[in-house]
């Protein structure tokens, strides 16, 4: 019995370590935000040094996904694990993004996505808060930006262009 518990304890210790390592992998397009707080990891399964990572892709055409998968494998291998990244068919939503990541987005002038509970209907007239001054006197200049996940806005109050992480 106690041996069983010992094994369990060891496993959960390794699992904790894997989550820590995964939190070192950042989004190449938003380097201050890590993939765990973006909600890209659904689960980790640890068996000895074998690790399976359940990975949830974001935009179907996002070129960062390939890079992220390579980085996951690299960081785990360097720590002595034998990783397998399993891409899941789960529909990713920006509601999966943690509060910590939303804060970091604001700090780099990126307005975080609104929590929408599964339904959103983007319009160019939609008001969003400017990440610099907080004003909602803003206009969407284009639903497309420098990466697939971002739209371009302009704040009339502080006269700054800014970007917003799109709801998905």
């Amino acid at each position: 019995m106690s041996e069983e518990k010992g094994k369990e304890g060891e496993r959960s210790e390794r699992e904790r370590r894997v989550w820590e390592l995964l939190a070192q992998v950042t989004d190449p397009e938003i380097p201050t935000v890590n993939i765990v707080e973006l909600g890209l990891i659904e689960y980790v399964q640890v068996e000895g040094n074998q690790v399976e990572v359940g990975f949830v892709p974001t935009f179907a055409g996002c070129p960062a996904l390939g890079v992220i998968k390579i980085q996951i494998a690299k960081v785990l291998m360097e720590a002595g694990f034998a990783p397998r990244v399993k891409v899941l068919d789960i529909v990713w939503s920006t509601d999966r993004i943690a509060e910590s990541a939303r804060q970091k987005m604001k700090e780099i002038g990126l307005s975080p996505p609104r929590r929408h509970g599964g339904s959103f209907d983007p319009h160019l007239t939609e008001k969003v808060a400017c990440p610099y001054c907080g004003s909602t006197e803003t206009v969407m200049e284009s639903p497309f930006g420098p990466t697939l996940c971002r739209a371009i806005y302009y704040c009339r109050a502080c006269q700054q262009p800014f970007e917003k992480f799109k709801e998905l």
Partner: protein, 268 residues
């Protein structure tokens, strides 16, 4: 339902998915031709982003084919097939034209794509297709927001912009109907509840287009029948789903496949 096991049904489904993957690939390629050449920087970025999205959607359909057991590698298929083996609708392969033409084509395409995705998401008996469609619909919402704003702006602005949008719309409309050309094995898919018939999808598309055109001086060139469907006043341009293409596809593939044809097996 998990992936169908009946061989005839699987084959029909694999062709259907290839047709949709080809639509996305070819229109995505046309959009990418605006990269660096857009009339204003926002539209340059919009066309490039939508190109990236459509390629992602094409890959999604290839992944679904793989889950059916299709072994063909998407890169090999896309970079080595001759034109007559492509199943895309002719709408997607027409040269990009002026910006108004691209915008109208894209808007018609996105309205049609959204209609199809919605039908899969709501009622496909193949859960994997329904789930993938739900995902793609979320991305398509941004294409529609863009298309609606820009088309409306230009369709109600100056005489010249109205004329260009109107001319493009009338030229492209018969090709847009061609997105609903049924594949030869269409009946099998409909019977298995995987998708509604193409005529039904076309009717839903025209309902959506009718709503979209409200407030512009454009009208759907079709008559609403008493049963709720539509009777187009023009003949749809079919052929793509049978591999019958315009000369424009061969030229497009010439550019797209050049590198792989000149350096087979190259890695980079």
């Amino acid at each position: 339902m998990t992936a169908p096991t009946d061989p005839a049904l699987r084959e029909a489904l694999a062709s259907y998915l290839l047709a949709l993957a080809d639509d996305e690939l070819i229109i995505g390629h046309r959009l990418s031709e605006w990269t660096g050449l857009g009339p204003i920087i926002e539209e340059d970025i919009a066309c490039s982003s939508m190109a990236q999205d459509e390629l992602g959607h094409s890959l999604t359909y290839h992944r679904l084919r793989k889950s059916l057991g299709v072994e063909e590698d998407p890169d090999t298929l896309n970079f080595t097939r001759p034109p007559e083996q492509f199943l895309n609708a002719l709408l997607c392969e027409l040269p990009r034209g002026d910006y108004g033409f691209t915008l109208v084509r894209q808007t018609l395409y996105d309205l049609a794509e959204f209609t199809r995705l919605e039908a899969h998401a709501e009622s496909s008996s193949w859960e994997e297709l329904a789930e993938a469609s739900r995902k793609l619909m979320q991305e398509e919402k941004y294409h529609l927001a863009h298309g609606e704003a820009m088309t409306r702006r230009l369709a109600t602005a100056t005489d010249e912009s109205r004329r260009r949008i109107r001319d493009a719309f009338h030229e492209l409309f018969p090709y847009a109907l061609g997105l609903f050309e049924p594949l030869p094995q269409e009946e099998l898919l409909v019977q298995a509840g995987i998708k509604p018939g193409e005529k039904e999808l076309m009717d839903r598309f025209l309902d959506r287009l009718d709503g979209f055109l409200e407030g512009t001086d454009l009208e759907v060139p079709a008559i609403r029948s008493l049963e709720g469907g539509w009777e187009p006043k023009v003949r749809p341009v079919f052929g793509g789903r049978k591999g019958e293409h315009t000369e424009h596809l061969a030229k497009l593939l010439g550019a797209m496949q050049m590198l792989v044809r000149e350096h087979p097996g190259a890695q980079w």
